[in-house]
């Protein structure tokens, strides 16, 4: 039986933990709103970019001079997995989910005899993967201490993997991230970004069959500029989804923690009061039996 003093200390310590978790929940909630707005603001550009890419791809389809970034190397041997996680923990299973997914995917690809490399974005994912798949990691990127991700960051990643493709180091690049469904639900998603999966041109349905575009300058010059941009926006979206998901996951985790701390305080207070009552009863018995003995 712990003494009264021990119980008091424990209650106080749980109470301060609860204060921290509830503050973290508030912070996550306000950051979530900002991240969500940012993710939504990026959507129109991505949609229109996809439409343009579809039109361009349809126009160069089958051409032997089509750029490598669009059609790929024609092989499926060397894979690059880009694992997007958060830089901080305390967000439930958020980081571990991506880590586990990447690990399983990497093992499966390896089992099929393919070469796998991993680019870890976010410190938590890097730490997780370094423990198990250290040999595959070719690089890591962290945005720790930054208020928000910017488009330039996505462009930087895009350039890096484009160079790897051009140098023939990789054939396929896939990005794995937590997609933000709602505050309580983030789904691990994998999207192939290189070579890009080109949408069946939606433009054709809108402007009638086979809209013939004029290009200025020619298709290939435009594609050379547009493809890196299209790649960057896909990465940017993944980063933003992941950021929104991170705050959502942290909010849920901290909400649970706050509730658990409340339950614990209740239980400890009950024990404390019982112990106090038992002490009083014991003292009374002592006094009464002492008085009777006189």
């Amino acid at each position: 039986m712990p003494s009264l003093k021990d119980l008091r200390t424990r209650i106080n310590s749980v109470r301060s933990t609860q204060k921290i978790t509830s503050a973290m929940k508030m912070v996550a909630a306000s950051k979530l709103r900002r991240a969500q707005a940012q993710a939504e603001a990026a959507r129109p550009y991505a949609e229109r970019m996809e439409r343009m890419l579809g039109a361009l791809a349809a126009s160069v389809a089958g051409s032997p001079t089509a750029p490598r970034m669009l059609v790929g190397t024609g092989k499926d041997q060397a894979h690059l997995l880009i694992a997007v996680t958060a830089d901080r923990g305390l967000a439930g299973a958020f980081n571990a989910n991506v880590g586990r997914y990447v690990r399983n995917l990497a093992r499966r690809l390896e089992g099929e005899g393919k070469t796998v490399r991993i680019l870890a974005v976010g410190r938590k994912g890097r730490d997780f993967l370094r423990r198990e798949l250290a040999a595959m990691i070719t690089g890591d990127i962290s945005y720790a201490g930054r208020k928000r991700v910017e488009f330039a960051d996505a462009e930087e990643i895009g350039r890096r993997i484009t160079n790897m493709l051009m140098d023939g180091e990789i054939d396929v690049a896939t990005i794995i991230y937590n997609q933000f469904r709602s505050v309580i639900s983030q789904v691990v998603t994998e999207t192939q970004i290189l070579p890009p999966s080109v949408p069946e041109t939606a433009t054709q349905q809108e402007t009638g069959p086979r809209a013939i575009y004029e290009f200025e300058p020619d298709e290939e010059t435009i594609l050379a500029q547009l493809l890196p941009q299209a790649l960057a926006i896909q990465i940017y979206r993944a980063l933003l989804e992941s950021a929104a998901g991170e705050h959502g996951a942290r909010m849920t985790a901290m909400d649970n923690a706050t509730r658990n701390a409340g339950d614990m305080i209740k239980r400890l207070t009950l024990n404390y009061n019982r112990a106090r009552q038992a002490n009083i009863t014991k003292e009374l018995i002592e006094i009464i039996s002492g008085a009777e003995a006189v």
Binding site: Q38, A41, A42, P44, Y45, R48, M49, R51, M52, A55, L56, F151, T203, E206, T207, A211, I212, Y213, E214, F215, E216, P217, T221, I222, Q225, L226, Q229, A232, I233, Y236
Partner: protein
């Protein structure tokens, strides 16, 4: 049909979406006026000013740092790498950017044609920004 639906989007957000009478965009090979019913086209943009015309008047001007535009008979979509309303441009910032671009050009490898081209495009874009800032 007397209006074309203009949209200007940057990776960060949708800046503008409304019908206009005519829009002039800084296309790769020179300024290009887009009226309703324009033939479908996809053009690359260099740095310059997008001008919106409504009722025969210029109503809005935005600086774009380069990008692409998709034109159909009904609409004109500008995908800008960066877009700033001319009224919000600052001359000092524009000049600083021009200097940086100049320095990047000077530092570029003389034999790497692609890098030189990219640096040159940056200088042109920055120069257009300075001009736009002066005019606005």
């Amino acid at each position: 049909m007397d209006n074309t639906n203009l949209e200007i989007v940057s990776p960060e957000r949708l800046l503008l979406s409304r019908p206009v009478q005519m829009v002039v965009i800084p296309a790769w090979e020179g300024e290009m006026g887009v009226l309703p019913g324009h033939a479908p086209a996809i053009v690359m943009l260099r740095g310059g000013t997008v001008r919106l015309y409504e009722a025969g008047q210029v109503t809005d001007r935005l600086y774009v740092a380069g990008g692409f535009a998709e034109i159909t008979p009904e609409r004109c979509t500008v995908l800008a790498n960066e877009a700033i309303p001319v009224s919000e441009l600052s001359r000092a910032e524009a000049e600083e950017r021009l200097q940086q671009a100049q320095a990047a050009y000077d530092a570029a490898d003389r034999l790497d044609i692609a890098a030189l081209d990219a640096a040159m495009a940056r200088i042109q874009s920055a120069r257009a920004m300075v001009e736009a800032a002066e005019a606005g």
